[in-house]
Amino acid sequence: MSRNSSLKRWLMTTNHKDVGILYLVTSLYFFIVAGTLALLMRLQLAVPENNFLTAGRYNEAVTNHGLLMVFWFLSPLGFAFANYFVPIQIGAKDMAFPRLNALSYWLLLFGGLLVLAGFFMPGGTADFGWTVYAPLNTDEFTPNPGANLVAFGLLMLVASVIVGTVNFVTTIGLLRAKGYRYSNLPMFTIGILITVLLMLWAFPSLQAGLVLLAADRLLDARIFSAPEGGSILWDHLFWFFGHPEVYIVLIPALGAVLDIISVFSRRPLYAKKAMIASLVVAGILSYMVYAHHMFMTGVKTFYLELHSLTTEAISVPFGVITLLAIATMIGGLIRLSTPMLFALGSISVFIIGGITGVFNSSIVIDTANRGSYWVVGHFHYVMVGAALFGLFGAFYYWFPKMTGRMYNESLGRLHFILSFIGFNILYFPMFLLIDMPRRVFTYPEWTGWGPLNFIATIGGFIFGLSHLIMFINFLYSMKKGPLVDNNPWGSWTYEWLIESPPSEFNFDGIPIVSGNRLMISLANGASHNHLHTGDHYSIWPFAISAGPFLALLGLGMMVAGVGGGMPLLVIGLIVALIAVVGWAREDYREKFHDLEPLESKETWPFNGIGKYKLGMWVFLFGDAVFFAGLLGSNFFVRATNPLLPSGPEVKNIIVGALATIIMIASALSVYIAARATRLGNQRMVLQGLGLGLVLAISFTLITALDWMQTFRQGFTLENPAIATGFMTVFSHLLHLGAGLIPLLYFMIKIAAKGLRDGMQDSMDALSLYWNFLAVVSIGIYAVLYLF
């Protein structure tokens, strides 16, 4: 791939470093947008009874500030570095699925653009807070058409995250340099692995919530606006995602911070295995603490007390990591360069953010804290303080690697000092504003909140503007900064053994770890690289994201009553269709080769498992949570409201059983096709796939007719049991429809070209997917028909 700055390169790249740079630039763009919203809010709050922003505008700012900062700035900034450096750190030439990597990025960007487009809709955009509480989030209470676009944008983001998760787990699982054990990997890569596993189980819960919300907003369903349990259902779905999300934002930064502390102290991490264990424990616990966001909702006491206990407990692993990080520095040769200053700054504010988090574990203390500025202070200390300082430290740390030039150290330190001081002036007063409610656009003078808010606003401007120093520093230094050698910090990891900036495929030879040495073996000569050069451009990741973007934008405009929506929707769908065909044609022509044979990599514990099969396993683990969320919602609404009809009252058990058996038969056929691939029996493969196709279509038709019958009986989506059930089945059929694309693709390709090497892996993945859909159909039958 030519190393130039042409439009073609950036639109069509699939190289992990280019994608990393795209992530980086995009996340910084959204940082500026969301930061501007924050400063507008601070201006409004600077004095009591201010009229700078109206309540509506303020609520829009507060909502989009939160969404953009969390989903389009902090997380993507961490993943910018993950994209750029994780493959290098593990000794790989690229991600396991380079095109999917580009796809993750474009879905993220277009999702963010949908959110921004919401601002331009007549009638305003989302203004219900980033927690999107029900039933304020329904069109009954927030008819703002922009809110639909925000929900669509979030759905695209979830898609981006799921694709990225599959890619990172597969990459780290299969592409490590031979001999590279997990525990020897740098903390940043370990942190990313734990982060993506957290994403894998957290985001599908949000996805389920958004799918149900879409039904409420677009199909006149009444799930979240149902007086029985609608609000609490959203709380569960959102916070099951929302609390792990805090760690998803934090852990990439924490990993980078730990590596920086080690390098700048010249000392190995103290008890690194205990740190890793702590992260794992924290990750597991993170799913079991979320009800501390619901202490005042009046749900079951036992449930709350359990989460009170786990919330106390989750402070332990983070306390361990903090103390071990400090212990790491003992006996070192500490250099307080900019990355180290940011790393220490990150830990110091994390201590405050973490300790204030312990307060949140108490149900009684929550009677003061819940919904107050105290909480705002707490989570900004964690998410802005620990995460942003850590990631900016990582930015300074890796800047010379990414550009080959050194940034200006004095400006770097100035940036740290100003941002650190500004940060504390901004957020510390919020702990004192413990009685001021969050998300109020103004407050009366007699509350006495004026002076502290004024101080916070001053801090906000110091903090916000201090980042200009970083932008100026980096923009200047990437062109004019002094050239540096490959390893200015004397670090030990792989990225510092190769040139700055790295070449297209990172390594001239084969990375191998021997004992405790990271090596780049030139045994087969540097020519190894030439085997894999060739055209790695693809426009389809871009197009396959642009299509849904245009379609969803068009749909949002139609709902908003803005002209031009319909043509946009049609164009978007056509683009998406062309893109899917284009993507498949690239595979058909076998344009992309794997850069490295898996035999030369460390693949424990996935030895002998192909990348498609592993990727599919990972995807299905996440997807299982999605369907569990949907079916769980159905279960929840019916458990909350006994008046809702049970399965047998609505559905025909016999028809459901027939459909389920047909779906199982379809899965068995595809399974037989996958087995036949192994045996090399082309005829049987085609027959198996063909039968699977026919049975899947039969299943779809029977299910559709069954639901038409349900609606004919007079049930509507206003019934939450019907609506949640319908959205579950609808999602299942969408999965099935999406699965037909690879199924048809394999039939065409095998019929035309015969069975080929490497097809076994992808056929296994298809079979897994089909079997998963059969399992889901059994779950659907059990919950919707029998229960």
Binding site: Y133, G298, S315
Partner: protein, 243 residues
């Protein structure tokens, strides 16, 4: 400068329980946080490598391309964890104890016979208070030294009912009735406000509670809420909410 009382324990029973627990957390937070912060700042200063001078205290154990050796006992992580668990166990015990005291009414539903049960309904954007005798008000009037139980719900979106000075807070959720309680210890006027974003009127969803002596309350209550009520000037904590 602060209207908000740092130690509110003299205002209400709920505030007293809250303060006892909060003070305990705050003390430990300051001691532990301060100690860790001192280490975080102190150690880099002690082992700082001065430019140009060799520091004999430290050693360089990071080399390019070499996986750093294992350092420290993994067990030390477990020891720290146990230590922290001990601290948190103490906190948790206190917290659950306070919860029990606090939530006896709210969760067990053990409402004393002499308690005054008030229905609180949140709406976009305001509050309605319904008394047992049918009186409905938008300003809450309650007697001191008597158990007050709030039965809170919402008629539209998710609100959160709070009297922050008295440490009373419970979510007002449509279709759900949540219980909160308090026992005010001295007369005064306190702010009532919504603590969950509920639309454009969220910031102005403010009203007040007047805690008055039993005599004043009884007089007002007997009159079906038709008489004017003022809070006696005996309270040092009287706020001038809603002039």
């Amino acid at each position: 400068m602060f209207h908000y009382p740092f130690d509110p324990s003299s205002l209400a029973e709920t505030a007293r329980i809250w303060w006892n627990l909060y003070g305990y957390y705050l003390l430990l937070a300051i001691v532990i946080g301060g100690a860790v912060m001192a280490l975080l700042v102190g150690i880099p200063l002690i082992y700082r490598q001065k430019p140009g001078s060799h520091n004999p205290r430290g050693k360089d154990e990071i080399s390019p391309g070499v996986i750093p050796g294992e350092r420290g006992k993994t067990l030390s992580g477990l020891l720290i964890a146990l230590l922290l668990l001990g601290v948190f166990f103490g906190l948790l015990t206190e917290s659950l104890e306070a919860t029990k005291e606090f939530k006896e009414v709210e969760f067990e539903g053990t409402v004393p016979d002499d308690a005054l049960v008030i229905q609180v309904v949140g709406f976009q954007w305001g509050w309605t208070f319904k008394y047992p005798n049918g009186v409905e008000t938008d300003v809450l009037i309650i007697p001191i030294n008597r158990m007050i139980v709030f039965n809170v719900t919402s008629e539209d979106v998710f609100h959160s009912f709070s009297i922050p000075d008295l440490r009373v807070k419970i979510d007002a959720i449509p279709g759900k009735h949540n219980i909160a309680w308090t026992k005010v210890l001295q007369p005064g006027t306190y702010r009532i406000q919504c603590y969950e974003l509920c639309g454009v009127g969220h910031a102005e969803m403010i009203t007040k509670v007047m805690a008055v002596t039993e005599d004043v309350f009884d007089f007002w209550y007997q009159s079906q809420g038709t008489t004017e009520v003022t809070v006696g000037s005996t309270s040092a904590e009287t706020h001038s909410a809603h002039d």
